[in-house]
Symmetry: C2
DNA sequence: TTATGTATACATGTATACAATCACGGAGGA
DNA sequence: TCCTCCGTGATTGTATACATGTATACATAA
């Protein structure tokens, strides 16, 4: 297995909350830290910028993405639209092979739920669900959106993440897929996303209204 | 006005068909051509890769995006989903200011319809339509998708683009917006996109089944 | 006080040189 | 004939050095 790329390492640190939103990413500092020149750092930052994890402007040091309230709302609107469509395409196409893969992903994600890389488990679970839709680009777009949502969440208290409800939602979603019940699955997904969005918005308000 | 960036120049050439799908983009060649070193070329290629206009792999020379049949279908599925949603959000929010901007964009795009940069006029028109939705990220995603669809179109005969129908569809879409008729606007959009997709798929089949 | 100009420090953008990797073709052997 | 195994040329990846642009602080003038 090749060593993880610089971009991958930085992404993990951003998603885990080690580099909270707004953190400046100086090319020289990163070059020093990774023991390489600034060129590969620039490449890594370009990759992160492509997926939207950082904001980069010419002649300005890049920073970890910090979304406004409106941007969070739009991101969740998009997730609901894209994930709802994927669900509608996937469920009628699901085979036993798909379902067993979903079950496996559910277990895996449950084990990692309370660890620092819970986001990766979450991604794997949803990828398994949406695989049957056969729309890989759409899945990639959804994963990008989910990532930028995770950044904002990771910035706040890990304990406020409502892990229990998150787990039961995944379990119920899996059951609905096994039953082939699109309506129920869609309802669960919608409530899942709306809940996460509202939770995040409340956290954001709490932090901004009482800055210190 | 600043000189256009290297990435912008390359993008225009790709969209105009000067660099058809599959064309290799050698860093050394481009550096020679633009009279700069390979570093800014790498940056430009990274930007193009971010929007999906080129496919780049490590240690491999980048090439202009060449979509398969399935990828074209998925791209148009996504456009229909995202643009339909934008339309549904935009039309109820449209003010006189929005409508006049749409009218202006319609005229502008009509003038450029038969020129090489028709794609830019098309983008401006749809941006004007969707502006009232207030979902800038979603608009950006749609623009990226439209661009990668344009690449494939530009690769084939310009005369087969059905410019007349394209223009009348824009006119009818504008009328539906002025009337505030979402149902009709959605129907026009769906037919517009399905027509473009089928047209493109036919062209692709024609070229692949009779390669020479 | 407010605004403007300027100097300095720092971060990014770019050019050049070198190292690592890959594609291709030809030699050798089963 | 076909497959495998190198070598060679070409292409990309990286390090170093320099050029350019931006921000901050301070001095100066209205």
């Amino acid at each position: 297995m090749p060593p993880p790329s610089i971009a991958q390492i930085l992404q993990d640190e951003i998603l885990s909350g080690a580099l909270p939103p707004g953190t400046p990413l100086s090319q020289a500092d990163l070059a020093m830290r990774f023991g390489v020149s600034r060129i590969p750092i620039r490449d890594a930052l370009a990759k992160l910028s492509a997926t939207g994890l950082i904001t980069a402007s010419p002649n300005r040091t890049a920073t970890v993405l910090k979304m406004t309230r409106d941007e969070v709302i739009e991101a969740y609107n998009l997730r609901l639209l894209l994930e709802g469509d994927l669900l509608a395409r996937a469920i009628p196409q699901m085979t036993d092979s798909h379902l067993s893969a979903i079950g496996y992903a559910l277990e895996r994600s449950s084990l990692e739920a309370r660890q620092s890389n819970w986001a990766e488990g979450d991604r794997m679970f949803h990828d398994a669900i949406y695989a049957a839709a056969g729309q890989p680009r759409q899945q990639a777009m959804v994963n990008d959106l989910r990532r930028i949502c995770c950044i904002q969440i990771a910035g706040y208290n890990q304990l406020t993440r409502n892990t229990d409800r998150w787990l039961t939602d995944h379990q119920r979603l899996t059951n609905a897929c096994r039953a082939g019940n699109l309506r129920r699955a869609t309802r669960i997904l919608r409530r899942h996303l709306n809940g996460a969005r509202n939770h995040l918005l409340r956290e954001m308000d709490r932090k901004t209204t009482r800055p210190a």
